[in-house]
């Protein structure tokens, strides 16, 4: 870990401005991912701005009938919130499928969205990684890829986004609220928030330098049967090989997003029209452009089966 300086932020806009003007500065909230990466010097901020004191830790109703989740609401608290459990079950279930109790107690809503999209080669500093060191190459391509992405991949990167929460946010059409260094605010739809790797896998989100997430808003509840199903190599404390977040309505229509298959939560709205025809048609439409490796080609049929299981469960 490199030596760094530290300050506590006093306002969201002030924090954003401070990060923008201080070279090597980063926000820290729960720190559940950043601290790990700092110990390995994969992240090496020279200045940390602690946003924990910014009172962004409430869940409030919106005028539209949805919920506004403060950026600092802890994953544990979000999963336990009665309104979330009642109206946004897919989100509560996705949160509880992620990490461990200890990590969820620390991890924040915004931090969960900002955890690094990653792979084992990203974590091993002896290996080339375009995400860690742009232009150095990708050790995962041609390496061990069981866990890695099958769609939306590039020649530069095949890492997966590990967030379960983000998959649920995607299926719920959440919107990320931010404040920029100049004090202006904006609303970023979740589908535009995470990026595919392309030639710049080190840039993972739509955030500008210094831009700070203040909240994530959920639209009014859409009802339906809400399921999050995660398939992984261990029953606990493991990233998804494949996960399915779904909201299935009584008429058989559904929204579906996938985790574990891409550099971002994977949702193809056009493919959802296929769902009444069954999991096979829908999965094929969602993964039409998949480019799996030999090691992770199993994810293609696994998506179809898991989606099939989710749809069957929703039918009861």
């Amino acid at each position: 870990m490199k030596p760094f300086t530290y300050e506590r932020a006093t306002s969201p806009a002030g924090a954003a401005a401070a990060v923008a003007r201080t070279p090597g500065a980063k926000f820290i909230a729960g720190g559940t991912n950043l601290l790990d990466l700092m110990k390995l010097q994969i992240e090496a901020p020279t200045h940390l701005i602690d946003v924990n004191g910014l009172s962004l830790d409430r869940i409030e109703p919106t005028p539209e009938g949805g919920l506004r989740i403060g950026a600092l609401v802890r994953n544990t608290d979000l999963a336990a919130d009665a309104r979330i459990r009642r109206d946004y079950g897919v989100l509560a279930r996705a949160l509880l499928a992620g990490a461990s109790g200890q990590l969820r107690n620390k991890a924040t809503t915004a931090g969960n969205l900002l955890q690094r999209t990653r792979c084992p080669y990203f974590y091993d500093t002896n290996m080339p990684c375009n995400k860690r060191q742009p232009g150095s190459g990708c050790a995962a391509i041609g390496g061990i890829t069981r866990q890695l992405a099958v769609i939306g991949v590039s020649e530069a990167c095949i890492a997966t986004n590990p967030s379960d929460m983000a998959v649920a946010m995607r299926v719920l059409d959440a919107v990320v609220e931010t404040v920029r260094p100049d004090g202006s605010t904006r609303r970023i739809p979740i589908e535009e928030f995470h990026r595919l790797p392309g030639e710049t896998p080190h840039i993972e989100t739509a955030l500008e330098p210094g831009e700070l997430i203040t909240a994530v808003t959920l639209p009014p509840p859409v009802g339906g049967t809400q399921i999050y199903r995660k398939v992984r190599d261990r029953a606990s404390y493991a990233f998804a090989l494949v996960s399915v977040g779904a909201i299935v309505q009584r008429d058989g229509t559904a929204r579906v997003a996938l985790g574990g298959v891409a550099h971002k939560p994977w949702r193809v709205e056009a493919a959802e029209a296929e769902i009444p025809r069954g999991a096979k048609a829908a999965a094929e439409a969602m993964l039409a452009d998949a480019r799996p490796t030999h090691d992770n080609a199993f994810k293609i049929p696994l998506v179809e089966r898991t989606l099939g299981a989710v749809l069957a469960e929703a039918r009861g």
Partner: protein, 613 residues
């Protein structure tokens, strides 16, 4: 003292303390955080410096240059030790690859240096500034690709009867190949050590299952007399076979302390746990079983391939097949390939875990072919003698009873043998069975037992407690033998200045170490009886007294000035009298069985397993 005849009545038979459901005597220390683990002997040394280990960044090849200048100039750095400046080093008896590599690199994350600094953070930061240039070489990392180059190994080889002929003639045959992956240790306490020099003498507080082995190997590696090395390992936060041996943390702490002229503490960073220490190697296993339509096995063969560093050892995956089931024609064979992976060694039932997995799947598949219930198939191939040598009986073998009780408790008679028929919500459910057994090994084990003027008993032995309860069972043994309560017994473990024990490994720890304590107590009782003028055979030790006939002597008073110290060993190939009634020729094995209820989620293939109550 040799235990080579059947047990007769002895003081353990009283079972006043042994066999009682007592709390662990070290429990309060552990639950309150006062049991010092290797990195936590804060009072043992003053002003320790911190070492951070650098692991090789390539898997095979050669270091062509190391630039230490930036690291040397970094804040707090006291010393950097590499193979180049460490001086001549020997190699331990128990490690295969060098614990400080360079310039040749034998495997990924092989230690190539240690940076010592005032703080852990400084050491870690400076370690990242060490620039290493390599000439990487092609290596062999894939067991399947190296399979054909593997050489036969004598260990565990069996050839009885005519396997090939009997298999070819068998009406029902199974020929199946199974594979298991490489598996890494990640015990909660990493490998960690604090080393301190006093002149030419070295003390290392470490986390190690086998204190005597590792004391010897550290001395060998440092080219110094064993008498001048002391290892102290009173608590071990998980070993599982991964701490049977000297590893790089202890060596580099010693070298770092010598270079920095300060005590040095080192814990392996978690990423180094996977490849710097030992691991369970992958296997490829071929099992062939031939049987008659009646379900009697006539031919059984188990061959296993694994790989290791040059000069390494095989995963002994075929061993259990030599003894678990009957069959007149038998073959077991291990083959070992050279791989450039980190070295393979013991991990949680080495050999048995992957080997029994393959054997028991094969037994199920054979039962399926025969159309015989898998429990009945196992029972009909039970053996009460060593199938390789029918003159050699098991001391006690109750596998059939095990299987029958398990079947009854789990409701095996309600099992639907056709797959996919039983459902519980989203789960498909089913039952399965596997037999298990593990070799019961015994080792020499010494202990020193002292009775002091207050009637308190102190036991000292270099035995370790790796979470297994050694402290408590040794105290129970001494309390029972000396006729005192548990509160009068102090147990000191894990110090190479104590008598050499069996250590903790291979299932031999509890039986051997308590036998050593028993033997020491027998000698102490003799000495006490003699001192108070009793015939040793008549003396009864109970309630803090020694009695003979109607005479009794409260032993604290009578032995006020006495101190006795008697190290005793238990002979090899033997077991403690009070536990197993051993006769040397017999086979000692521990048997078990698992009947499991499997839950299989269709169609996304998730699995859950519940074991029998």
């Amino acid at each position: 003292m040799q235990f080579d005849t059947p047990a007769t009545t002895n003081p353990i038979d009283q079972l006043k303390v042994v066999g009682k459901p007592l709390d662990r005597i070290d429990g309060p220390l552990k639950t309150t955080g006062r049991a010092p683990y290797a990195y936590e002997h804060h009072d043992a040394v003053r002003d320790p410096a911190y070492g951070y280990v650098i692991g090789a960044g390539i898997a095979k090849g050669r270091i062509t240059g190391m630039d230490l200048s930036a690291a040397r100039a970094a804040p707090g750095v006291l010393a950097i030790v590499t193979a180049e400046n460490a001086g001549p080093l020997g190699k331990g008896q128990w490690n295969t690859a060098k614990l400080l590599g360079g310039p040749e690199i034998d495997h990924y994350h092989q230690a190539i240096g240690v940076v010592v600094a005032e703080t852990f953070e400084q050491a870690r930061a400076a370690a990242s500034l060490v620039r290493v240039d390599y000439a990487a070489a092609e290596g062999a990392f894939d067991l399947a690709a190296a399979r054909d180059s593997a050489k036969k190994v004598d260990q565990s080889a069996t050839a009885v009867g005519d396997f090939e002929g009997a298999f070819a003639a068998a009406p029902v045959q199974l020929d199946a190949t199974y594979t298991t992956p490489d598996q890494s240790h990640a015990m909660m306490e990493p490998h960690a050590s604090i080393a301190a020099w006093d002149g030419d003498r070295l003390v290392v507080w470490t986390s190690n299952q086998m204190v005597n082995w590792s004391t010897g190997d550290l001395a060998r590696t440092l080219n110094m007399p064993k008498e001048k090395v002391r290892l102290i390992s009173p608590f071990v936060g998980g070993g599982f076979g991964g701490k049977l041996f000297l590893r790089t943390d202890a060596l580099l702490a010693a070298l770092g302390a010598r270079a920095a002229r300060r005590p040095v503490k080192i814990a392996l960073a978690r990423p180094l746990m996977m490849n710097n220490t030992t691991h369970r190697p992958a296997t490829i296993q071929r099992i062939r079983i031939g049987a008659g339509q009646d379900g009697r096995i006539t031919a059984i063969a188990h061959e296993s391939w694994s790989g290791d560093q040059p000069g390494g050892q095989p995963e002994i995956a075929a061993d259990q097949t030599r003894l678990l089931y009957a069959g007149a024609n038998r073959l077991t064979q291990l083959r070992l390939a050279v791989l450039d992976l980190p070295e393979g060694n013991a991990m949680r039932a080495p050999g048995e875990a992957p080997g029994l997995m393959a054997l028991e799947i094969a037994m199920d598949e054979m039962a399926e072919k025969l159309g015989i219930d898998p429990i009945e198939f196992r029972i009909s191939n039970d053996t009460q003698v060593d199938p390789n040598n029918p003159d050699r009986p098991f001391s006690q073998r109750q596998l059939v009873e095990c299987l029958r009780i398990g079947a009854e408790r789990f409701g095996w008679d309600r099992r639907n043998a056709r797959p996919g028929q039983a459902r519980d919500g989203r789960w498909l459910t089913g039952m399965g069975v596997a037999a298990a057994f593990r070799n019961n090994l015994v080792m020499k084990s010494g202990a020193r037992v002292r009775l002091d003027s207050r009637g308190e008993v102190t036991v000292e032995t270099d035995m370790t407690d790796i979470g297994t309860g050694s402290y408590t069972i040794i105290a129970q043994t001494a309390a029972e033998m000396m006729g005192v309560g548990m509160d009068k017994v102090t147990v000191r473990l894990g110090d190479s200045s104590f008598p050499v024990s069996a250590g903790s490994g291979g299932q031999w720890g509890a039986n051997s170490s308590t036998a050593g304590v028993y033997a020491a107590c027998v000698k102490l009782r003799d000495a006490v009886a003699q001192k108070v003028g009793f015939n040793s055979a008549d003396a009864v030790f109970a309630d803090g007294q020694v009695r003979a006939g109607n005479r009794s002597v409260p032993h604290p008073v009578e032995l006020r000035s006495r101190k006795l110290s008697i190290p005793i060993s238990v002979g090899p190939g033997t077991a403690p009298t009070f536990l197993y009634s051993p006769i040397r020729m017999l086979h000692f094995r521990l048997f078990g069985r698992m009947v499991v209820q499997g839950r299989f989620s269709h169609p996304d293939h998730q699995r859950r397993v519940r074991l029998t109550p």
